[in-house]
Symmetry: C2
């Protein structure tokens, strides 16, 4: 079948899908949001994601490291200290997080009733 979709849209769709691979998984926006304030240790990140299991947090951190979103730094102290820090690519995700926060404040937290307003006019 010949592709008839608009190319620009198609390309845009592809870019959205690629970003979704990183950011549209449970907990990831919260981890990136917490790291936006500076390097964090594992336990601090755990507190930023109430309910996450240590195993899931490890998996997410591994994925984000593989994707080049964060770096893991270990300091040879006793006990050893490990911190996670956003890279330039990771910081480039922050405008997405900012828009998520704005949406959350306007539509989910401060004004939950708004969501009930069926608004699409005909």
């Amino acid at each position: 079948m010949r592709r008839t979709m608009n190319d620009t849209h198609d390309h845009g769709n592809c870019a959205v899908a690629a970003t979704a691979e990183i950011i549209a998984t449970k907990w990831t926006p919260l981890i990136v949001h917490d790291l936006s304030e500076g390097p964090r240790r594992f336990m601090k990140l755990e507190k930023a994601c109430p309910g996450i299991s240590p195993r899931t947090l490890s998996e997410r951190l591994d994925m984000l490291e593989r994707q080049g979103v964060l770096v893991r730094r270990s300091y040879p102290e006793s006990p050893p200290r490990v911190e996670y820090e956003l890279t330039e690519k990771g910081r480039a995700l922050l405008p997405i997080i900012r828009e998520m926060r704005k949406f959350g404040r306007s539509w989910m937290i401060d004004a939950p009733a708004k969501g009930r307003r069926a608004s699409a006019a005909h």
Copy 2:
């Protein structure tokens, strides 16, 4: 334990988490992105999400309808026509999708090598 986290950050975290419930699930950004161009039928949305199963697409559409992000309109034709359309709340998600597209273009598609550049300077 007394909460010592910064309140503003805490509130922001909560807003990000609430938005993540809607947008940080597989396929949802693609569905919202496709609906940003106008009302869509089920089959058209299926094409916008290559690899999605009809069952998963139904589940996502139900969730987005419950969340007030889209409305489902049926027209009494033969065969009946059903279309999905973003609400005002749904359109309020579009700045997030736009930032996701920008990130995807800069870091995932046009310049994948950038991701390899470890950049956080000390």
